[in-house]
């Protein structure tokens, strides 16, 4: 028996696997039993109802996708009245993801959706498709600090700000979030990118830029998660290009407490249950009885000292 249980701060999860916001919905419940997940993370909502950006919204590369969706939202009332009750039928903790245009609205929305059934709130300060050129609160340590602070004063639920890989100073943003009282970090959201159809001369998503996600981004996303793990003392939830147990293990070895699966859910909607099974098999094969033993277990290469051959 392998013990897959992990804790993300005060939140206990049956296993470290959950969907990434926006890549999972009620429809998935028609494909597999959601009770096998570590947690359920819903698509980012805003207080108001939003349509999102014009299509085409998706382009595809050999091992990655470019999505430009722009946070369409059915609004917070729909979320409370329909979405929360739907997921309350399942045992994994429900994590809401929210976005807003101002620091105050982040606080207000956090307060509003702190209803029974919601177990933590992700602060999506990092959507690359909202503002021009992918700027977001999460690009700025100070703005991130303010958002988290506002949410922390508005709710008693754990607050998990989601980092953007487009910030050069992601470690500073992570530290600011921690200082503001963040309970965990989700690292990271999609990478701002673009592609052009050379036959039509047009951008491949109407919004010109979108978020690059999927397997090809994993080495970048792992690096950022590792940098955050090194910098902060709160739990880090790894996200980016994870589609198999081996992918998830890279993030766990780098020190992440849990992982989120995004684009791989589109490649196969049963990616997460299979990943969980394969984690068990990996642990059995390596004689590991608790998945927590893997967390942060990365080992360095032996150093080579060119000055002294005798060391070799």
């Amino acid at each position: 028996m392998v013990d897959l249980r992990v804790n993300v701060g005060s939140l206990a999860l049956a296993n470290p696997v959950m969907p990434a916001s926006g890549t999972f919905a009620e429809g998935t419940a028609q494909v597999f039993d959601l009770n096998c997940l570590g947690a359920i993370v819903t698509k980012t909502i805003t207080h108001d109802i939003r349509e999102g950006v014009p299509p085409p919204r998706v382009a595809e590369f050999r091992d990655a996708t470019l999505f430009s969706i722009g946070i369409p939202s059915k609004g917070s009332d729909y979320y409370i009245n329909e979405t929360v009750p739907f997921y309350r039928r399942y045992s994994p903790p429900l994590i809401a993801s929210i976005s807003a245009n101002s620091i105050e609205e982040f606080g207000e929305l956090a307060a509003k959706i702190s209803v029974p059934g919601v177990k933590a709130i992700e602060a999506n300060v990092s959507c690359p498709n909202l503002k021009k050129d992918g700027r977001a609160f999460g690009m700025d340590p100070e703005a991130t600090y303010q958002v988290v602070k506002a949410m922390k004063s508005a709710t008693s639920l754990p607050v998990w700000p989601k980092m953007t890989p487009n910030a050069g100073n992601v470690v500073e943003v992570a530290l600011a979030a921690q200082e503001a009282g963040a309970d965990a970090l989700v690292v990271s959201n999609a990478i701002l990118a673009m592609a052009i159809d050379v036959e039509t001369f047009r951008p491949r998503v109407a919004n010109v830029m979108g978020g690059l996600t999927g397997a090809a981004t994993r080495p970048i996303m792992l690096r950022i998660a590792y940098q955050c793990v090194q910098a902060v003392s709160i739990p880090v939830i790894g996200c980016g290009g994870i589609g198999s147990a081996s992918d998830a293990l890279e993030f766990l070895l780098a020190g992440c407490s849990a992982v989120q699966v995004g684009t791989a859910n589109f490649v196969s909607p049963t990616t997460m249950p299979r990943l969980i099974e394969d984690l068990v098999k990996y642990c059995e094969r390596h004689g590991i009885s608790r998945i927590t033993d893997i967390i942060g277990a990365l080992r360095m290469h032996e150093p080579i000292n060119l000055q002294k051959a005798s060391v070799l």
Partner: protein, 314 residues
Amino acid sequence: MNMNDSPTAPTASKVIAFAPGRCDRQKAHRAQQAHHACRDETLPIAENICTVRSNDWINPEYKHLVLSAPATALTAVAGQFFHIACPPGADEAAYLRRPMSIYRVEPDDERIEFLYKVQGVGTRGLARLAPRDTLDALGPLGQGFRLPAVAPGEQAHVLLLARGVGLATMAPLAQEAIRSGARVTAILSARSASLVMSADYLRESGADVLVVTDDEQTSDVVQIERMIRRVHAAQAITFATTCGSNRLLSTLQRLTAEFGIPGEIALEQHMGCAIGACYACVRPFRKHSGSDELTYRRVCWDGPVFDLQETTSW
């Protein structure tokens, strides 16, 4: 609220069954028994591991794929589709799945069929499938055609207007409609007579088939409109359906409004998840018939079949 969004209580009984995902595809081809513990056989959507019976060219551009399929796949109805994990091609591989309308379902024979145009990386991969290969088809997905009820004693008369691969989407509707007692008239449009597909399959199903082609210069909108009026005059059309072509959409919107009958259209859009999660597949629709205000709807989940009057041209 869309029907599909309504809460579905998870069922208690759980059956371990094979439903390997695309990552395990190659292994599945050999093993067939790959599975995951959270599979629940009673759920309506599955990654159906199908076995290829045949995959033949029916003309220089289109192939006809016949599969043996597990039970979940056999519940598909006209207008629904599968999201198919295309096998890799020679030096390329599609990362995402590809949506394909169900072309024919024969539950008794445990058989489903697709008709597809070979064009890009995904369909080129599909074209390589040989008998006994396996294929992972997620589905059935989406909202199919909704044949309206007719008054007792009256016969429904369903018009199918399709061009090119649109046929694939409409063909099973003919079968369903005829089984329900309706009369079906199918107008098939194509570049040339050799590219007209499924005329025989439709005739066998009992549909009246009218063919128009660019080559014979019988396929322009004016002539098609005249043809529809003749069909309607002979026996009143009670439900009109189409797909794909912008030109045909406008004509049919106008005619169904004039005739005062409902109509539906099957639409396409590039997709990510195909289960309503990613919102990649939206198109603008009138909020309601006649409205000037538009809203985005998901082709995969709210459609792919939509009300004709709520659809906007593109």
